[in-house]
Symmetry: C2
Subunit: 212 residues, 2 copies
DNA sequence: GTCGCTTCTGGAACGCGTTCCACTTCTCCG
DNA sequence: CGGAGAAGTGGAACGCGTTCCAGAAGCGAC
């Protein structure tokens, strides 16, 4: 009687990882981010990521189901930290800015951050269409974080339309980023258009933030 | 003295093709579309496309710079024909529908078309982030066609805000399609959200179509 | 300790996009 | 028609994501 069932080789859930494993996972993500900013997404190869974080190639695939999964996790992490920066920045302004003004500041700073790290913009765009379920999950989490941040910025928009407004801004952001990164548009045009979208969709809520 | 300069191996522009070459190009696109609907984007390989259109693999690369380029050209072609269908459909309704109503019909029919051809939806999404300049060009053309179609549907929106509205709808469409195709959302939710976006952004123009 | 398990390692191997090459076939000008 | 340059052919070869395998740690239970 020979053992026939293969061991499960799909990545363990993060919650089920030992501290040692969590550290490895973190190293892999860090290595991926570092390599992307150094040499670009296009030139990044899995073998390098493994080597730089001191694990065998096969091991990398026990933490991430695919290159897409790893990259999605990486950009999600970076994007999350960007979001808290942005929310802080907008909150920092104590004046009674309108929701529209605040949101414009928000996306403007966001676009500038991507401008400073164009390779990360490329990364975000290139990973957005991934069909790897694990990557998809990471991207979904990123979208949720986006939603929460946007909600924090537009406190005066009622929940009824708030969802739709958030989707509009999120999709427009992603779309303009894509258009820029793939060379279909200049960065300035992308930023301008995104701000136009924000203004158009938020003008109904011109009243100053009651919480200010 | 040895000849050193390599021959130009990037695809010739379409305008500069002989009829024979145009036919080949068309065959390649047709084969790609057929194969995509038969077996899906993921499983499609360049070798099959070449074989099915009776051309050597190397030749395929003299017509399209990359798989992305071929696929972009293919989906652009299909999408263009879809757009004329949709515009016709909306125009066909002679009643004095509001811009918002017409646009909702437009995107609803559009989403249904993609629902009937889910592999083409996948194709559109998977190609959207391509950085191949030739692919990018094809996608840009597709976006222009989209813009023209949307303009035809919302005749009563003034040009000042019309651009922005078109971008919103375009990005939301692409975004929801992506979310569906990558399994981050159900098709119904995607459609519903897209229609919400359309309605929110077009309600200011509720007056009936003056041309009706 | 040591047995039994999971995990990790190093490295070979596979698949498919892409490139290259030596050769044949077109095409079209004189 | 003849001959030069462009375009196409068939097939080998390369690069990198991904998979697989046999053996070597790592680690908890007893």
């Amino acid at each position: 009687m020979v053992k026939v069932t293969k061991v499960d080789l799909s990545p363990r859930p993060v919650e089920a990882m030992s501290p040692r494993q969590l550290e490895r996972r973190g190293n892999l993500i860090a290595a991926a981010l570092a390599l992307v900013t150094e040499i670009g997404v296009e030139r990044l190869q899995m073998r390098q990521v493994s080597e730089r974080s001191g694990v065998a190639l096969g091991t990398t695939y026990r933490y991430f189901s695919s290159k897409d999964h790893l990259l999605a996790a990486a950009i999600a992490e970076w994007h999350r930290s960007l979001l808290t920066d942005l929310v802080g920045e907008v909150r920092g302004r104590r004046a009674g800015l309108t929701a529209s003004d605040r949101m414009v500041r928000f996306v403007r700073h966001g676009m500038r951050a991507y401008q400073r790290q164009p390779e990360l913009a490329r990364l975000r765009v290139s990973v957005a269409a991934s069909t790897d379920p694990f990557a998809s999950e990471a991207l979904q989490a990123m979208a949720r974080a986006d939603g929460a941040a946007l909600r924090a910025v537009m406190t005066e928009v009622p929940p009824s339309t708030g969802d739709v407004v958030r989707h509009i801004v999120g999709h427009a952001w992603q779309g303009e980023l894509t258009a820029w990164v793939t060379g279909r548009t200049t960065l300035d045009d992308a930023r301008r258009r995104l701000e136009d979208v924000v203004r158009l969709v938020l003008t109904p809520y011109e009243a100053a933030d009651p919480a200010a």
